[in-house]
């Protein structure tokens, strides 16, 4: 090993262009820039060496500062932590654990619960592998001591239609009617003082295992094969890898939201890192979701009304998370990626990831620049002025101008549609709000496609045809508002599958927000 001797020679930071600084061949290990004593273990940002101890302080401080700066989590609130088993969400759970165990004054004050969505069916795992993953996650979840819930992706087939509507906003929280954050914290502290001095194990239910039972012993059991087959059928019917990724994310979000609503959690924390946020920013721009960047990537996401999504890890780069997990032995469970079909072009998500990470190699401030630009976006435009103006699937306010909407009586979709090649669609007689673009509205389709050239070219880049433009009979079903449950067959209404007409094949998910039934 190189011997430790003072400061590692100057790298000429000022003279070099923005390329990453490479330590000279015979460099001695550098010292931490913060404490000046410890041997540097990693480089943060562009060129700041940190030792292990200072890095840990920096990491923990960032988490608390993120929560403290945006005062949205009130004391005593129930917060659901979405754990995927990956590095970022595992680091987040560890931060919450550490935060809850500090001395009384500085302790985090909310009540956490954990949720894990098992997606083995669409990640090409065999039933044995799925059970193994579940067993690992089970051990992890138990070890935290928090109440936890495991959901299978197949359960998305049974979501109620209420998931597609935002819940009532909580008016008791901060605002003119409710207590401000400061008042809430003060009253909470006073209440604790009155209850007794010192640390008591019952002060935060769920924090200690003996007070809050974790529920019956969970044995990993997979859903029915029939449900798994149905889920796989839906995913396989999706034509592009991009749409498949979007579908997975949407189903996952809805499942977590449903869990939060049914168990009384008012906040959900997800572990999206700075790197992931930057990638999502550019990906969503390519998908035509430019109007909703702030909601999709900001710290708070209020579109669901009663449940707020919070992203406390969005300031950490993937590198910081990876080093933290390695140094401090954070357990993770890695699963294979979403399946792709043979000879399928990569999704827009993968392309953007590859692009950004590649650029980051040579220009190490790329990701933070994209991230900070995204931070400047304000979420106001995503608020819908009235109930009828929300997108059905993502619950954001529509970004369509009035002119186009006038042509189609009810039009409830915001993201762009790559016009489908001709497939006919028969409207269910009970879906009074769903509309079909008929040949006479061909000009509307033209205009609609023309408005969103970006996505069309992105779709073309994916190898998907946009023959709908030239085809005189394009038929694309745009999802309308959730109608009354159809009486055909008495089946409960499913939010993602329109009730098929008797004798016709059921509809399939074609692209973001588009369902098409084969003729």
């Amino acid at each position: 090993m190189c011997d430790v001797s003072g400061d590692g020679g100057g790298c000429g930071a000022d003279t070099e262009p923005p390329r990453r600084r490479r330590a000279p061949r015979d460099s001695h290990p550098r010292t931490c820039m913060k404490c000046g004593q410890g041997t540097a273990a990693l480089i943060i940002r562009v060129g700041d060496p940190f030792c292990r101890g200072c890095f840990r302080e920096y990491f923990v401080h960032k988490f608390r500062a993120m929560l403290g700066k945006n005062r949205v989590i009130f004391p005593g609130e129930k917060v659901l932590l979405a754990l995927s088993g990956g590095s970022a969400s595992s680091a987040m759970v560890r931060q919450v654990q550490e935060g809850l165990s500090r001395e009384a004054a500085k302790r985090l004050r909310f009540i956490p619960g954990l949720v894990y969505v098992e997606e083995g069916a669409v990640r090409r795992q065999s039933p044995e592998q799925r059970e193994q993953t579940l067993a690992h996650m089970e051990t992890l979840l138990r070890a935290t001591g928090f109440p936890y819930h495991v959901i299978h992706l197949e359960e998305a087939l049974e979501l109620p239609p209420s998931i597609l509507q935002p819940g009532p906003e909580q008016s008791s929280k901060s605002g003119p009617c409710g207590p401000s954050y400061k008042e809430a914290v003060d009253s909470f502290i006073q209440q604790k003082r009155q209850e007794g001095e010192g640390e008591s194990a019952t002060s935060l239910p769920g924090h200690s295992t003996q007070d809050m039972p974790l529920g019956p012993l969970y044995t990993p059991h997979l859903p029915d094969t029939a449900q798994t087959q149905e889920l796989l059928r839906i995913f396989e019917a999706v034509e592009t890898a991009t749409a498949r990724e979007e579908l997975l994310q949407m189903l996952r979000t809805h499942l977590i939201l449903q869990m939060a609503r049914s168990r009384g959690y008012s906040k959900v924390m997800t572990g999206e890192t700075c790197t992931r946020v930057a990638i999502k920013l550019l990906t969503n721009l390519s998908l035509g979701r430019g109007a909703f960047l702030a909601v999709d990537t900001g710290f708070t996401d209020k579109r669901h009304g009663d449940v707020m999504v919070v992203r406390p890890m969005r300031d950490y780069t993937a590198k910081e998370i990876a080093f933290y997990n390695h140094f401090f032995n954070i357990p993770t469970v890695i699963v294979p990626p979403l399946f792709t079909k043979r000879r399928e072009k990569p999704s827009i998500h993968h392309l953007i990831e590859r692009f950004l990470l590649g650029l980051q190699e040579d220009f190490p401030s790329t990701i933070s620049t994209v991230y900070r630009t995204g931070e400047k976006l304000s979420p106001d435009p995503a608020k819908a002025s009235s109930e009828s103006q929300r997108c059905l699937l993502c619950l954001c306010g529509l970004d369509i101008e009035g002119g186009l909407r006038a042509k189609l009586p009810i039009f409830h979709y915001c993201a762009t549609v790559a016009a489908s090649p001709s497939r006919s669609w028969a409207p269910s007689p009970h879906c009074h709000h769903t509309c079909v673009l008929r040949p006479s509205a061909g000009s509307t389709v033209q205009r609609w496609s023309g408005r969103h050239r970006r996505t069309r070219s992105a779709a073309r880049a994916e190898g998907v045809g946009d023959g709908g433009n030239t085809d005189p009979r394009p038929s694309v079903a745009l999802l309308g508002q959730v109608p009354a449950p159809p009486e055909l067959g008495g089946d409960p209404w499913h939010p993602f599958l329109l009730q098929p007409r008797a004798g016709r094949a059921p509809p399939i998910y074609w692209g973001p927000g588009v369902l098409v039934t084969p003729g």
Binding site: M1, G8, R20, R21, R22, A23, P24, R25, S27, P29, R30, T39, A40, A41, L42, I43, P49, S84, G85, G86, S87, A88, S89, G271, T273, T275, R276, A318, K319, I321, A322, F323, H326, F327, T332, I334, P336, P337, H350, E353, R354, L357, G358, Q360, E361
Partner: protein
Amino acid sequence: MAAPVSLQVEFGGGAELLFDGVKKHQVTLPCQPEPWDIRNLLKWIKQNMLKERPELFMQGESVRPGILVLINDADWELMGELDYKLQDQDNVVFISTLHGG
């Protein structure tokens, strides 16, 4: 001449999926005229350990962007990256940060 070098090579963050799911490997690099450095180690790994899809691990002569390298629990940027000369009993860790959660 370089004596044979024995190393512990670890993979994490999903990179182990490219190596049969095995995270820790004990490797002994054979004797060769040039001293072993990370650049040569990567070539060796590509030839001898990577079972499939080398483009998911390497790009050119370096690792793919998104894969971190730690040498003896320290960032490889502090050690000289590809030019670091490997010593006996060193520990090299490759952590993938791609499509992580």
